[in-house]
Amino acid sequence: MKNISKKTIAPVGRRQFLKSSGGAALFIGVSGLLPNLISCTDAKGMQGQLAKHDVTAWVRITEDGQITIYNPAAEMGQGSMTALPVIFAEEMDADWSKVNVEFSPQESDIYGSPGWQPGTKLMFTVGSRTTNSYYTVMRKAGAQARYVLLHTAATHWKVPIEELTKGSSTIIHEKSGQKISYGDLVAYLTMPETLPDFNDGGLKDPKDFKLIGSQIPRTEIPQKVDGSAQFAIDLRLPDMVYGVLERGALHGAKPTLNNESDILAMDGVLKVVPFDYAIGIVAGTLEAALAAKKALDISWSDAQASGFNSQEIYDVYAQMASAPEKGNTVNEVGDVGQAFRMAAKTYEADFKNDYVYHAQMEPLNAVVQVAADGQSAEVWVGSQQGADTKLGIPDLLGIPHEAVNVHLQYLGGGFGRRSMNDFVLECGRLAQEMAPKPVKLIWTREDDVRYGAFRPLTLQRLKVSTDAQGNLSGFSHCVVGDGGNLVAGGTRNDYYAIPNQWVEWREASHGVRLKHWRSVGHGPNKFAIEAMLDEVAHDQNMDPVAFRRKLMADSPRALATLEKVAEISDWEAPLPEGRAKGVAFVEHGSLGTGVCEISVDRNTGKINVHHFWIALDAGVVVQPDNVKAQMEGGIIMGISSVLKEQITLVDGQVQQSNYDSYPLLRMQEVPDSIETVIIPSAEHPEGVGETATPMVAGAIANAFLKLTGKRLRHLPFTPDRVLEVLKG
């Protein structure tokens, strides 16, 4: 379909990048700065412009009509290499078959999207924000590129710009019958004195979109089927050496190395580098580094996590939830206390979830090269974090921000784990020791599991009241666990008309490393909320869809997803013996309702998910097929975590170490089908990467309740736990 540049990952900084470009570059400031056009061969003029203006280069056009669009977001499978350039190309009226995509340089002043604070910019591929945060940025930049081309044609033909019309990569002057392609315009490119900022209109009406919303194959997929896509772990540089660390299984423990001289005497070992929490080894080959790692004799200190037994902590958490002192208020609507006092009936249940691990297929790794004088560094990494921090390397080396170049590589899975920079700092430290040799640091799978940063374990106590008419009158949600926002997110019920709500977080701390895990707090919290709703509906003999329909009466967009999924799943149709359906709603930017169909093997306790249906409202959908792929992947990752995944700690030691002790869902366990319907919308796009995963636990627990009359309240629903619940 189109040629994807094999040089997608260009190991050059912005200035070199401009110098090396062929053709002409359009430097178009989205921040309202005067745009400038410079021939890429005019190095002097270009340097002058760079010195004068904070400019940005989003697109390059060459005389042959080829268009290169720069993608500013990390690509971890979510499709940024296609979605963002499609948005730009749409407004630019670019001929998509002539578009190449490359990663932009990692410079957030230029390529960032609006940050958390007004007026700030950020390159940070987290929170499902790729399309959501870049949609307007890319549209305006694309519209500006189009305007420059229109201006150029108007100047060239000496006609008013208003008389011009556009085709695909073409500008037309109907009056005179003239027509010119973008490629042919390159020779005449001229900058307008002022450029519209498109803040107050002038962008396309979504109904006129040609590329946005159509089926466009993802640009980077061909490289991912012939083995040529480059991940950081694939990098090989001249004189490169290999680094590994032994970090132990007790987070925060300090090592004492008992056999340093033996290690240093081993074949190929170049250096032993102590860290506060690990022993690092650098060797000439990976196999030598791994052999030395295995031979380390380390005594570990105690740490905060010593004595911590994860599966026994729930009793403590339950006591904490019962304590009279309130925790940190997360959300308060109306007066739940009053609702409970006036209630016709109240319900209470504790929901629990064990720690889970990211398990991205590419173990953490990086390549860092520090210059001989220690004053600059090159970093090759697959990271969700970007330019804003340069991944901590400037601070580590005590050098200026500009002296560090980050070369973003494809991410072999992110899921939140690659928004941390711990592994990059480790590699930077080893590279500092080995300068100017580049160091490739690889975490083994065992390192990646044991020294993981997990989704926190929590206990959630839900109390719910109904009034005399059976309406939900009060909803109280107390989350107990470690990790603040990691456990408190996803607790709001803004799409359910519940007049009195209270959410609080009660803090625990165990010294176990924690991090955002796809959908973060939404996973455990939507499970608790959606399962609780069905427990109430079940008690009141209400159909779970009908029950939610009433709650969503004031939220038409949410309600539409519920109605649609009920329709496509044939919710009310009778099922064969031994099958049942369950429903769950999730808001995570986009709104989605999911329905699953399950069966349970009552001898083994194994739950089988046969089908999943989703109706999604994500606003404007740039790439419908890719959104469906995100739904499918999100559901499968959800099923995996809900049925199988569990990190446990005994005396602070992580008990799992690889895929044998931390199993993931496999091919034979996937549903027969996952069907997604996207609800048409012209609203601003919302993130889709984290909406499906949190549906799964609630939907399965609710189907299980319908099938067996029993309640699953502890994630994961392993066969042992299911059998126990069935017996109880």
Partner: protein, 157 residues
């Protein structure tokens, strides 16, 4: 250190590595054939799947010593000349990969199946592919791609 001669993708390679070195490190770090991926190191995930005399095997648990006696090693780089094996085309058609890291292993595992059984049932495919993990959850599209490629090969042969 010892010198080994390996037959990879029809080409003979000499490598000088320590005895017992994993074939995966030889492929990736010594020879630069990085399409074959490291993920678990204990034959649990299948990301490093290659063909050894036509059979799908995990490179991570093979020692170089045992594959240097004329055995034919095939990696993703040698599956087709231009990345146009029917499975690779089907993979693109189905838009199967997400992060893409496991996909070389998936494709190599699937290719070995179609070599021996050009018309596998859905259950046979699932069973054959069960050893290769995908964290992004692309399994259903992988299934779709294999079924597409199977139809293509069975109708053209």
């Amino acid at each position: 250190m010892a010198t080994y001669s390996l037959n990879i993708n029809g080409t003979s390679y000499e490598v000088d590595v320590a005895q017992g070195t994993s074939l995966l490190w030889v492929l990736r770090e010594h020879l630069g054939l990085t399409g074959t991926k490291y993920s678990c190191g204990i034959a649990q995930c299948g990301s490093c799947t290659i063909h050894l005399d036509g059979n799908p095997v995990r490179a991570c648990v093979l020692q170089v010593d045992n594959v240097a006696n004329g055995q034919k090693i095939k990696t993703i780089e040698g599956l087709s000349e231009k990345g146009d094996h029917p499975l690779q085309q089907a993979w693109i058609e189905a838009q199967a990969p997400q992060c893409g890291y496991c996909q070389s292993g998936q494709i190599m595992q699937a290719a070995a199946l179609l070599e021996k059984n050009p018309n596998p049932s859905r259950e046979e495919i699932k069973s054959h592919m069960n050893g290769v993990l995908c964290r992004c959850g692309t399994y259903l599209r992988i299934l779709e791609a294999i079924e597409m490629a199977k139809e293509q090969t069975t109708t053209t042969s």
